[in-house]
Subunit: 692 residues, 2 copies
Amino acid sequence: MKASILIQTALASGSLGLIYALLTAIRISRASEGNEKMQALAAAIRAGVNAFIKREYLAIFVAATLIYLLLLTYIGLWSAIGFVIGVTSAALTAFLGAIISVRANVRTADAAQQGIKQAAATAFRGSFATGALVASFSLLSVTLSFLAVKSLAPLSSLAPEEEIFRTLVGLIFGGSTVSVFARIVGGIYAKSADVGADLVSKVESYVPENDARNAAVIADSVGDHIVDNAGLSADLYETGTIALVAAMLIAGTSFGTESPWVEFPLLIGSIGVISTLFAAACTRLAGKRQRIIAALYRGALLASLVSAGALFPASDWFSGLSLIQPALSAPTITAIGSIGLTLTWLIIGITEYYTSKGFAPVKSIAAASESGHATNIITGLSVSMKSTALPVVAVIAAISGAYFLGGGFSASTGTGLFAVALALVAMTSQGGVIAAIGAYGPIADNAASISEIAGLSEETRNITQSLDAAGKTTKAITKGYAICAAGLAALLLFSEYAHAFSTRTFDLVNPAVLLGLFIGGLLPYWFGSLLLTAVARTSGRIVEETLAQFRDIPGIWDGSTPPNYGRCVSIATRSAILLTLAPILLLIATPVAVGALAGREALGGLLIGTLVTGLLQAIALTSGGGAWDNAKQYIEGGMYGGKRSLSHIAAVTGDTVGDPCKDTVGPAIAPIIKIVAVVALLTLIWVPTQIA
Amino acid sequence: MKASILIQTALASGSLGLIYALLTAIRISRASEGNEKMQALAAAIRAGVNAFIKREYLAIFVAATLIYLLLLTYIGLWSAIGFVIGVTSAALTAFLGAIISVRANVRTADAAQQGIKQAAATAFRGSFATGALVASFSLLSVTLSFLAVKSLAPLSSLAPEEEIFRTLVGLIFGGSTVSVFARIVGGIYAKSADVGADLVSKVESYVPENDARNAAVIADSVGDHIVDNAGLSADLYETGTIALVAAMLIAGTSFGTESPWVEFPLLIGSIGVISTLFAAACTRLAGKRQRIIAALYRGALLASLVSAGALFPASDWFSGLSLIQPALSAPTITAIGSIGLTLTWLIIGITEYYTSKGFAPVKSIAAASESGHATNIITGLSVSMKSTALPVVAVIAAISGAYFLGGGFSASTGTGLFAVALALVAMTSQGGVIAAIGAYGPIADNAASISEIAGLSEETRNITQSLDAAGKTTKAITKGYAICAAGLAALLLFSEYAHAFSTRTFDLVNPAVLLGLFIGGLLPYWFGSLLLTAVARTSGRIVEETLAQFRDIPGIWDGSTPPNYGRCVSIATRSAILLTLAPILLLIATPVAVGALAGREALGGLLIGTLVTGLLQAIALTSGGGAWDNAKQYIEGGMYGGKRSLSHIAAVTGDTVGDPCKDTVGPAIAPIIKIVAVVALLTLIWVPTQIA
């Protein structure tokens, strides 16, 4: 059977990715952890990450059990099973990534004592282990669920295609649940810890920012892994699975569930895993200047080129198989896939333009800082609003291009939607590499903190600091990619939603559709406000606790007694979970309630409303935040009076405002968009039996 | 003929409103202008307003001539005629209102020497003259255009209903053109002058904010009339005409063009004019505490009650006429109208809640100011995002309620859309009163500045200052009302658009609709960014000019030579126009281009996309700005350390950031939403002959 070759390929390449991750993890754990002080710090960070994940996963477990029971009762066994697979894979991706990350940090610091090449190699290893996990788990979880339901569905009373649909939607719902927690709870935790640690060093001005006596300092280092490793991984894992599932379901609709095209997206996913491993093998410092960012970008570009290069032979081989309807030729598929890969680089380029020091937007914010806090903020807001245009236009252009190539405008073929899905699968097949770039950040950041706190030699500290600087500039890019890919994924889910409900249309003239559109449009605003407030409250609690420790634990000042780092981690974790558990459940309940009360047309409107305002708000907040951050760094580089000038003070204000925008609210909107779309699909299965 | 009774009523009440405005203007101009110094200041402000309007109207004239020729060439004579009527009425409304306003200001200051009662009476007179102009001009321009086209259309080669449609759409396009200029150019001018004058007094710290030697001070006073009188008037005039036109067109579709229901909306408009005059007669200080805001609110509430009370007898009388299909009973119409009136007060209440010192949102921003600039801004952003939810929910509830009462959910009657239009007409029939509340602001503000600069007695200055304080709190409310009414108006235009194009649907599954939705969604972001930048640049030019005058004109310092106020006005005007003329034309061209290139479905999507993100962004920016402003004032009232404390400095930053948001960007979005909808309707007339 031809299909099984594709599935075998997917299983093989997914397993290869996991084996790479495992071997890399072993190799990392064998490296030296450095001196005792470094080991103690690393142990504290590790304990913090474990404590956070334990509590967060408890919250996820509670929510997931509730959802599992609801799925079992109202939708059926297969969705529930898919859900469990999704929750487990997403949780494992995030957890294993973080575990490797908290081991690579201190080893990178130690390797820095031998030179930048060794340090970078260790950091890259840790990052690509995470990348391989993301790419492999999304491919494997979809392949295995599909294989299981396909083998066992004939035993069920429902039609096999219905069971496949339910299982795969359950699967992505599982991923969404973990991802929404990871981005929201993790985002609040990490930012609060960061702000808290900063504020303490400002209040107690004799304590430097990175000082072992500051009880919040470990919570801050922990937060980096939580947000840039675990949060990003879960998010990209989710988008990867949604892309594969959407493409497979659309193929089933267009060509029939038995068509080999249903399994074709898994082939692109397999290429993605292999290209990630290829990039992992080739990413190293090169040239005289040994620039780290250049190395990371070179690796990512290589992955894209490998993917693009493999597309033609793979689709040519595929279309040579018998049983294939010649709906799309190999050159067309190659062109469609290249659109997805190009979109990845367009988004990277646009994000670079709006957030990096080399271009006009950031420079204009830096210049505006000369006239004070308010002009810095106003200019930042202006950049933030303007930054939405190009990414949205790029996404629209990519959709239109793929749709056109797929013959979407021609009534005779009509596989345009499948083409858009393939373009997205090609884009998300780069999710592993993007996750690696993102995961590099916390490793380098921790390495810099550890070598500073542990007092390593200045030479070593310079090396870890240059590693850290590179990590800071790549952050914005991973977010831009995650948001645009999530938007596309949600759009495809909407198509699937609309298709599954083909008896009526989502006409904007219908008041129910408009009602849904407005309520959906509100969600990102409402959630944004909630998250900003949660960060402010949680960071306040961390400052209180840290100052209380200075007061109550006698030996902290002279360094004889270490502060209770764990309490800060625990307070931030508890606060983040308590402030968001109810809103997250409410978020999941909103589409269900709208669907049940106002009908399925309203639900379709809601999905699109959340997508439109969510995409714009998410881009505006992350790009704006990144621009503020880099405007401050630009000034710190000596422009407009440099550090400690009035411009710098104003730029610090902008950076502080931008921080929760870019690290908490903006990234959290992507999973919000996706979970609304996934829940809408599930509601669709449930609602027909309830209302007309 | 029954119809003519309604038209006669409309003509009579519209004329009554104009007569009231004229008599009031005469009465105001006969009052004393005070001493020589006051007269000189008032003359300078008057000259500034004239200079601004002259230039702005020149720009409007150029743009309008271009549009007129395009309409004449591509659409036909009747649209072009309607357009001219619309431009003229809107321009007259704004111009006459401003003329009265710049005469009432100094007379209010003079009357303040006799007591608060006399001062308030003069200010109220000036405000209600503007209110009467807004209510009367929108009613009269629609009635006259309708009458003219109805009498002359039989001479045309097209069907009469087609000519009526084209004329009325041309009419509202005329209003939209003026309103978009008034809000955008006026908003940039006013805010730049305000910021410029403030900055000068900060740079030259020996010049107080209101000082005759500051060349920007007159430009600042001029700006208040431009934005809160002329800008608001044009905006509300436009929304009023759109509501009437939409209701009449929808009635024509539902009941046939010859049905008396087509003219029924004019009856509600007439009630609106009469209730405005009623409020004008009854608004005066009362009670022991002589609170000005209470007097204004009492007047507005009275107008709503009069309107609500008149609805039943009026519709009962109307439905007693022969020829009327009993589609809607008198009690139903009364209920529908009351929904519109209730919505007005709901929006007022919600805006109060989010922007006034008495409630949690503003207090939370004030409290956050204690920890500095950044927390002030973050909390303000959080309030700003949260403030979008209730107004949108209120608008949705009002639409659903009216739609339900109109039998929208029942297939047998199907007049739900007309009911929504009637609710909006009832809401916009209060536009006169809201314009009066808004127009009160610049009169009181100028009166305070004039008495301060002219050095009137402390007692007088206290009176004018308490008048001014009241004016500041009412500003936010007029904006909230203007935005929500504009949103509703655009929604009705979309229904009309969709109806006129009934062969296809605006299905969200259609890629063209989605493309339009995203491009439309971008517009408010893109324009918002552009306006923020324009304010920053223009205010910079004003500061330069003012400082140059201090340097170059020898007698300014000792007060022997007055500065050249006119140059500041002229620089700000020119800069505002030059920076926005091209973008405004681009804004008007966007729907045409999307319609012509991507089709009419894409244009429908564009309209809704602009509406959804525009409504949310406009509410967020105006409420957020208002909240920042009042948080500063709350602290100035002695909380958190009071004036000159660190909290106050942080709150000033928030206020400065909020200023262009609430006074320029937010209010400009309402006409942007409307003009996109109007141009879409016009494009619809043009496109069918071009593409399929």
